[in-house]
């Protein structure tokens, strides 16, 4: 985990540089669309205390100055499949966002939605010789967590301390300077496929941008779509994306679990295209304009012109009832929600005090989804729109932008990660002594 520490540290430094420069881009590379927000950080002095706008968890100190969206290319299941195509799409979106913003952006924070995320809860415990928790002790207890074998080619995306316990007093968020004899911590680690992360980094580097951070898309959309109470009391955010459906579970304002299902809205479109024998574009149009999940008697009479431009009159003049369309879409959505329910069961969501479920992402706009989801997942279901941030154009406030907006919030107000604490001192000497020895040997 040593090199990981260094890499993440470097990204944090990059992020600090970008904040000093004041402009940073946020890139949400999804399966169906790529969104880019250009953020400008111009200090916290925009609002005064008397305006009644408090610090708002760091959301008031930045502004969106450029937004661009483009159709995603070369992506599948939230992973990069064709590097060159994805690179082109990233170039397109960054160039148009820069054009809107009118400034050059050099640093980008990206989120990755697929790449088979896996959550681990780690625990560590140390004795406190000083009888008091110091900064170094926090780092030490984080380093003392017993790391399981993540598997080959896995990389840690998030490693967040979620809970500290001091002599049996649990639930501390900041144990520093408190007295006690034993410090224990719980850490949530999210790992993803290292190759996918490497591909993403490579693509962004090919676009002459510096990667200043990577986050999980399901985590980011949870940050944007859950309100503060839900994050505190416990909720799950389900991000119905194009290629993947991300699930993240929050409690006490910390993510404790994240996963992704490799089924998404693209699959619904594919079903429609196959079932109605129409092109992908026509199927997408049918899904977005006429799609639904709850069939009523009226839907039988509502005929939808399929359209199309195959050139065959008979084929292009067909029409189906809306009930037919719902009949195609509903099983697939049910399948997605079943998968999500399985994940939530595995995560132990049933044992949470408040079982709020928030649906967001582009797929959450299907009419009737809330009814279906509450029937399948539990009673407390709502459709979540992302938080409103300053300067965001209206067409980017849709649920589909929740991971981009959550990433912007995360950029403005980053979560403490394991690598934000200083490396424990005992890890240093061996390596530096060895380096000094090598230097002497090479020079004398």
């Amino acid at each position: 985990m040593k090199d990981l520490y260094e890499v993440q540290r470097a990204m944090r430094n990059m992020r600090r540089q970008a904040m000093q420069r004041g402009v940073i881009a946020v890139l949400d590379i999804g399966t169906s669309k790529i969104a880019c927000l250009v953020l400008q950080f111009d200090g916290p002095s925009q609002f005064r205390e008397t305006d009644g706008v408090g610090p708002m968890a760091g959301q008031s100190n930045f502004r969106v100055i450029g937004t661009a969206t483009t159709r995603s290319r070369g992506m599948r299941y939230g992973e990069i499949e064709t590097m060159a195509e994805t690179e082109r799409a990233i170039r397109t979106v960054i160039q148009s966002a820069q054009k809107v913003a009118g400034v050059r952006v050099d640093h980008v924070i990206a989120c990755i939605s697929g790449a088979r995320p896996a959550s681990y809860g780690l625990a560590g415990e140390i004795a406190l010789p000083a009888g008091k928790v110091t900064e170094g002790d926090v780092a030490r207890v984080l380093a003392s967590c017993d790391v399981p074998d993540f598997g080959r080619g896995r990389e840690v995306l998030h490693a967040q301390p979620v809970n500290f316990a001091l002599d049996g007093r649990s639930g501390l968020s900041d144990p520093r300077d408190q007295s006690g004899s034993r410090l224990a911590c719980d850490m949530h680690v999210l790992t993803i496929d290292g190759d996918a992360a490497g591909n993403l980094e490579h693509c962004i580097r090919r676009c002459d941008m510096e990667l200043a951070g990577v986050a999980s898309a399901s985590y980011a959309s949870g940050l944007a779509a859950l309100v503060e109470d839900e994050q505190e009391l416990g909720a799950a955010c389900i991000d119905l994306g194009g290629g993947t459906t991300g699930v993240s579970v929050f409690i006490k304002k910390h993510m404790i679990f994240a996963d992704a299902v490799r089924v998404g809205g693209e699959l619904i479109t594919q079903d429609i295209a196959k079932g109605l024998r129409v092109s992908h574009a026509v199927a997408e149009r049918l899904k977005t304009l006429h799609g639904g999940l709850e069939a009523t008697g009226r839907d039988d009479r509502e005929m939808i012109e399929l359209g199309g431009e195959t050139g065959d009159w008979e084929t292009d003049r067909r029409s189906v009832s809306r009930a037919d369309l719902i009949g195609i879409m509903r099983p697939r959505v049910e399948e997605i929600l079943e998968n999500v329910a399985g994940i939530l069961d595995a995560a132990g969501f049933d044992s949470m005090p408040s079982r709020q479920i928030v649906l967001t992402g582009g797929g959450s706009q299907i009419p009737g989804l809330d009814v279906l989801a509450s029937r399948m997942l539990g009673q407390n279901v709502r459709i979540g729109r992302p938080l409103r941030i300053q300067g965001l154009p209206h067409n980017a406030t849709a649920p589909g932008f929740s991971s981009a907006i959550g990433l912007a919030l995360l950029t403005a107000h980053p979560q403490d990660e394991w690598w934000d604490f200083d490396m424990p001192a005992e890890h240093y000497p061996a390596r530096s002594l060895r380096r000094a020895y090598r230097w002497f040997r090479n020079n004398w």
Binding site: T70, R73, R88, A89, R91, T92, I94, Q95, Q98, K99, G102, V103, R104, C207, D208, L276, R277, E314, T315, R318, S319, V320, D324
Partner: protein
């Protein structure tokens, strides 16, 4: 799902011969659809776009490059002598055409209040031959040059509508003659030179003053002459002594030495003395009024000799020495 299978099969099975179909030898060429352009920018375009977003590069391209190109084109175009000459010639011609419009032409010059000499001088001073454009006549410079003429006190130059250059001249009035080592000059009442004369007789109506620096005190001299009322017929002139005070020179070699300050009062005092005691009619060479408290009078030779005769002293010769003593002295010298 009705409507999904538009192809009904089994319409009449066999039996009927296939209809004759005229198959065109080759499918008609379909109009080629325009290939949709990739919306993504190429790597080069992307890099150029990002480069253009740098503020320095942007300013360079938007300001520096056009300025450089304009300068380059202008420089190349102007590097040819003929073109440069054409350009300047063309510009000059335009300026010339505008300046020589009928409305700007000055056709004649009128001079008021000038003597014939000044009139001639003024006309000679005009830098251009009339008719000329009013742009070529610099009135301010011309006025300065005219004012350098000693005889002119003030001049009012203007170009009147109708192309008339009008000059209204105020000449200096001669007030006094000044005789100095280099000749005789006429001065006006402020002491400024008006003209030179060759002889005093040319302007015998003017009083005369002499001595170095007399022109600078001409105003005082004129006041003294004005005040000289009763002795005016006897007045020969005023002489400036050591550039600081005046001597009034009367005929018969009489002189009134006036002080540096209060000369006018001193002269009036002398005139009062003269009026009371006919002082100046007596044999007195010099009346010295330089010290106000103690006027001194130098007697003439005849008067002195009359006193000496009455006292029984030897008389004085014209050189101021006693005659007898002078004789003995001469004898001693010769002996």
């Amino acid at each position: 799902m009705q409507g999904l299978n538009p192809f009904q099969r089994g319409q009449g099975d066999g039996g009927r011969p296939a209809p004759v179909r005229h198959v065109p030898s080759r499918p008609a060429p379909q109009p080629q659809r325009p290939v949709r352009k990739d919306p993504a920018p190429s790597r080069l375009a992307y890099r150029l776009n990002r480069m253009m977003l740098r503020p320095l590069v942007r300013r360079l391209v938007h300001v520096g490059l056009p300025a450089f190109l304009a300068a380059l084109v202008a420089g190349i175009w102007l590097s040819d002598d003929t073109r440069r000459a054409n350009l300047t010639g063309g510009l000059d011609a335009i300026v010339d055409r505008i300046q020589h419009r009928e409305a700007f032409m000055v056709k004649m010059m009128t001079i008021e209040g000038a003597s014939p000499v000044v009139d001639k001088g003024l006309r000679a001073m005009l830098p251009v031959d009339l008719p000329a454009s009013s742009f070529e006549i610099d009135l301010e410079k011309l006025r300065e040059r005219v004012l350098k003429l000693d005889a002119v006190e003030a001049v009012d130059l203007r170009i009147k509508p109708g192309g008339i250059l009008s000059a209204v001249v105020t000449e200096r009035v001669p007030a006094v003659l000044w005789r100095h080592a280099r000749g005789i000059e006429i001065l006006d009442k402020t002491g400024h030179r008006v003209a030179s004369v060759t002889a005093r007789d040319i302007r015998s109506d003017l009083p005369i003053i002499s001595g170095e620096g007399a022109d600078r005190a001409a105003a005082e001299a004129l006041a003294l002459i004005d005040a000289a009322g009763p002795i005016l017929p006897r007045l020969r002139g005023l002489e400036r002594m050591g550039e600081r005070r005046w001597d009034v020179v009367l005929d018969r070699g009489q002189r009134i030495k006036l002080p540096e300050t209060g000369a006018l009062q001193a002269l009036e005092r002398a005139i009062a003395l003269d009026r009371a005691q006919h002082m100046l009619e007596r044999d007195i060479t010099v009346v010295d009024l330089r010290k106000q408290q103690r006027p001194v009078v130098r007697l003439g030779l005849d008067a002195q000799n009359a006193i000496r005769r009455a006292r029984g002293q030897p008389e004085l010769g014209p050189d101021g020495q006693p005659i007898a003593a002078k004789a003995t002295n001469g004898r001693k010298k010769s002996g």
